[in-house]
């Protein structure tokens, strides 16, 4: 046991956060000074670091991100990607549950999408009301009749979860359109391995680097029938898109072309890309362009980043669009409230991960309750994203509450209300000291049609201001490398350095012609010897 009193400066004054009154769950400490077993090794390693060592690594991290162009814009300035140096540890036992819960959710959502873009059985059985689908702005009738060759509409999902005060994970939101952030998961790990190699020596952390290979596999599996060696591309809105780094990262890691809308061309319901060798057929498009911008023929005609005709090409079965068009019908905040029902209906299973307690305001009773208790609840617009229009009751002013009541009463279908969850905290670097900060987690799942694979860990985002629960990086949020550790105890590193093969002679590099001082010396010695030689008789 490490002597806790000798703990380095880093943890000085670390006390649990009480942002919403009750103490938040801390990922490292069970109680003040009591480290959770899974985080013990990490804690010890951190305490042995001096503040200046810590600082030096922070500098190396920023330089590394900056040089590699892994940056983001904050008030017009390019900043290095905000990776907090303290990883978040999730023990494997917990992870197994989370993983199963995420996969279960993805399977249910897949079934739901296939259903609502098909026969609508769940609607006929009145498990989910028609209006959830038919009045959703993300239900794209134009996508009706587009049948994925392998049945998969959600190749990639990002299921956002938070850990509540009770230590349980709750699902906050499903993202099954174009979830972003996976590149940062991989880059965070790569950076941590670079600047904290010793931490990895003392932990067995499940790797995340296989994600691009898994994704490629899933995309290839989605190819139209009869295409044995499909051409896969990543479609990006372009270099100015905020997630461009990720698009580029994925294309490079998968070894496929990164295309923009203008690189593509539809002819006779077949998609081609323009190359220096003429047009080349494209079979699978992993698109990171929103539905609304994807196909000017069916959606916004003013889109410059789309490819007209691509949706009909998919309908004709000549190209696979991934994720499928119209997935938004299943991931808005109202659909979210029905996911547990979908799980029971399609999978005949109980949900492994609970939703946060949510009120649907179209129900008059719920509406009445919520209007009376708005100051205790969090109010969210159904179709909004990016945190717009959210009202946090306990922190709102009277005027804000009144405005919100009026807005909700006017259009209840557009709102849901939730119990506020105090997000869990973890030690986070704040000016060279570690302090508790709130965080969430986005695990990523890949569905290749035969199984749903979940990247061990995911993207942990941190709210950097004290007591803040806004993990948005444009508002000063950070991220953490997320470790799923096989065991908290010290485990010898699995990959031992491979011994050199016996029998093989290692040849030193050719030193080149003798130019060194040694060489000149030898020559000089020879000369001297010659000179010293007795004169011939």
């Amino acid at each position: 046991m490490v002597d806790r009193t000798a703990v380095g400066d880093l943890f000085d004054g670390y006390a649990p956060a009480r942002t919403l009154g009750t103490p938040a769950w801390d990922e490292m400490f069970e109680a003040p000074g009591v480290v959770r077993p899974a985080a013990a090794v990490l804690h010890d390693a951190l305490t042995s670091l001096s503040a200046s060592e810590f600082e030096a690594r922070a500098a190396a991290r920023d330089r590394g991100f900056h040089d590699r162009g892994i940056t983001f814009q904050l008030s017009g300035e390019e900043r290095p990607w905000p990776l907090d140096l303290v990883p978040r540890v999730i023990p494997e036992a917990e992870w197994t549950t989370l993983e199963a819960g995420v996969a279960q959710r993805v399977r249910a959502l897949e079934a739901f999408l296939a259903d609502v873009y098909g026969t609508g059985q769940i609607l006929a059985d009145r498990v989910v009301p028609h209006r959830l689908v038919t009045t959703s702005v993300h239900f794209h009738r134009a996508a009706f009749g587009v049948e994925p060759a392998n049945g998969v509409r959600i190749q990639v999902a990002g299921i956002d979860v938070v850990r509540g005060e009770d230590g349980r994970f709750y699902v906050l939101e499903d993202n099954i359109r174009c979830p972003s952030g996976i590149s940062y998961v991989v880059e965070n790990r790569r950076m941590m391995a670079r600047i904290f190699p010793e931490l990895f020596a003392s932990h067995r952390v499940l790797p995340v680097a296989s994600y691009p290979a898994r994704l490629l596999e899933a995309l290839r599996a989605a190819a139209p029938a009869g295409v044995s060696d499909p051409t896969v591309v990543v479609l990006t809105p372009g270099v100015y898109n905020s997630a461009y780094f990720e698009h580029s990262f994925l294309a490079r890691q998968m070894g496929v072309e990164l295309v923009e809308g203008r690189d593509l061309l539809c002819r006779n319901d077949t998609v081609y890309m323009r190359t220096t060798d003429g047009e080349q057929r494209v079979d699978v498009v992993y698109r990171r362009v929103d539905d609304d911008f994807l196909d000017p023929l069916h959606f916004r005609p003013d889109s410059l980043v789309g490819c007209p005709g691509i949706l009909n090409a998919a309908r004709a079965g000549n190209v696979a669009i991934s994720n499928a068009v119209g997935n938004g019908v299943a991931d808005d905040k109202l659909a979210y409230t029905y996911v547990p029902d979908m799980i029971r209906y399609y999978l005949a299973e109980e949900p492994i991960l609970p939703n946060v307690e949510t009120y649907r305001l179209e129900d008059p009773e719920a509406l009445h309750h919520v209007l009376g208790h708005l100051h205790e609840l969090v109010l969210k617009p159904v179709s909004g994203s990016g945190g717009y229009g959210i009202l946090i009751g306990p922190q709102a002013t009277e005027a804000q509450l009144d405005a919100a009541r009026a807005a909700v009463a006017a259009n209840p279908r557009e709102w849901i209300a939730q119990r506020p969850v105090s997000l869990s905290t973890a030690p986070t670097d704040v000016g060279g000291r570690l302090a508790p900060r709130h965080l969430d987690l986005r695990p990523f799942a890949v569905n290749d049609g035969t199984s749903v694979w979940v990247v061990p860990g995911g993207l942990t985002r941190v709210a950097l201001p004290e007591g803040g629960m806004v993990v948005n990086s444009s508002q000063g949020g950070g991220s953490k490398d997320t470790w799923v550790t096989v065991d908290g105890r010290r485990v010898p590193r699995v990959r031992a350095a491979r011994a050199a093969k016996p029998g093989r002679r290692e040849v030193a590099p050719d030193p080149g012609p003798a130019l060194s001082f040694a060489g000149t010396e030898q020559q000089q010695q020879q000369q001297q010897q010659q000179q010293q030689r007795p004169a011939p008789c």
């Binding site: 009145r126 009301p129 028609h130 209006r131 038919t134 009045t135 009738r141 134009a142 009706f144 009749g145 061309l265 539809c266 002819r267 006779n268 319901d269 000017p296 023929l297 005609p301 007209p308 005709g309 009909n312 309908r315 004709a316």
Partner: protein, 280 residues
Amino acid sequence: MSWRIRAEHTSRYRYAGPVYSSYNEARVTPLTTTAQLVLDASVKVEPSTRPYRYLDYWGSVVHAFDIQQPHGELVVTGRSVVETSVPRPGSTAATWSQLDDALLRDDHAEVLAATAWVPADERIAEIAAELRAANDPETAARAAVAWVRDQLSYVSGSTGVHTSAVEAWEGGAGVCQDFAHLALAALRAMGIPARYCSGYLHPNADAGVGMTMEGESHAWVEYWTGDWHAVDPTIGWPIGERHVLVARGRDYGDVAPLKGVFHGGPTGDLQVKVNLTRLG
């Protein structure tokens, strides 16, 4: 009695400059329903291309095509031969309490909700409430259609394709599209599920066989009061053998005969011609 009608629907775009690339969808092929049977249908596009045919969400027949060669004119011609008849009368027995049932409203949610062309409007809602209070649903629906005919006069060219029901109402004039949209607004405001129908109307009830008449694209509505019933607010009659149904939807946006995007041009001049011939 049934009619056999040949419809020839030609849309001709003339562009100011060459168009290099063009993607379109045509909805010009009639539906087969209980009251109507399509005997033959084809779509021809000039410049020549190979359309891809599919059925959309509403069950309409769509011909999608693209043109990649420079062209100054685009002509899409839909030809069809249809046997039409007067629809058999269905139930009109629905009561307001049936129509107000949450489950029934949910089933018909998408044809009760407001749309871009049929927005919710308080004044229309008030009028709808009066009609509803005084009548049973079927009578109220007929009254709504009569109200539309009273409010709008048919003035060709008075509105555009994007004119909403409310705008047309405020202007007091419109064409068949506006009559249909305003009727939908009133019906939906009363809580009666209602949908938009597009198609053709043969202009002459006494047309001789083999005579080709110039007709027009037409629009009317269907509403639910126990069964679906079709009514033509523009002429004020129920649907008969002179109506050829092409597509149904929430509003004009779901059934537009031709829509698409092109690159080049820039703007085009559109001429639409519908020839209808009674064959029998």
